[in-house]
Symmetry: C2
Amino acid sequence: MEIMVHEIETIPTKQECDSSLNNVVDALYVLGGKWKLPLILSLVQSPKRFSEIQHELSGISPKILAKELKDLELNEFITRKVYAGTPATIVYEATPHSLTLKNVLRELSLWGKQHREMIKKSMKREAA
Amino acid sequence: MEIMVHEIETIPTKQECDSSLNNVVDALYVLGGKWKLPLILSLVQSPKRFSEIQHELSGISPKILAKELKDLELNEFITRKVYAGTPATIVYEATPHSLTLKNVLRELSLWGKQHREMIKKSMKREAA
DNA sequence: GTGAGCGCTTTCCTACAGGTAACTACGATG
DNA sequence: CATCGTAGTTACCTGTAGGAAAGCGCTCAC
């Protein structure tokens, strides 16, 4: 039943582009900035405390970290859990929603790699 | 032979994340900014002249448009073609490389839409 | 009670993206 | 000759992201 193995390469219509552009812009907005993706990926690996994150993402300032964590919490990528005790320990962990980024990140990674290699090749060609 | 219909939901390893993060950051870098994607999508629809683009993307200033066009040309998303004549007409058109964004944009659009709807729902829940 | 660690907040600063307005060079057109 | 359209460039300004350094309230260990 393999009627269509290869996708026909059609140029998308204006409507298709316009409707999806808003979604894409929204997506890039919530993922944008220097630290959001590194943070999400770090917390997907394992829940961590504020100071642990600061240590792992060396270079992030406490101000930015606090801001980004609030932002990611608002967008439900992470949750802030307070474990009672003395002193209380505060742990940030990724929600299941963070895992929905899997396909997006896979495509972005594949494309980014391919793009970089293409540009490298064409720069060599120009140098020759 | 459908041994595995559903992908097993595994949390990606540190290595997988680190190696792909650079690719993703690169990808977001070349697509970043306010006008790159609108410009690419516009030129994928049809080649256009400078003034036509200015008109279609109302709000873009000639300075930014010129800068973005140079940028997109460097990254081989578009080409600048000069057609002789008097006066010469200059046309920008998307390259085949622009079309390699298809999968990335589809995933980003799907995810962006899903994310927006999720946030909307959870905001309603909180309001209730 | 003094110092250290945690989880931040506050203040100040810089760099860069992007916008506005004016200007240029060129040929065509009236 | 003056004006118009095209394809930009230039100079100036603003807003925001992000970094540096210091401080704050709390608790524990010494």
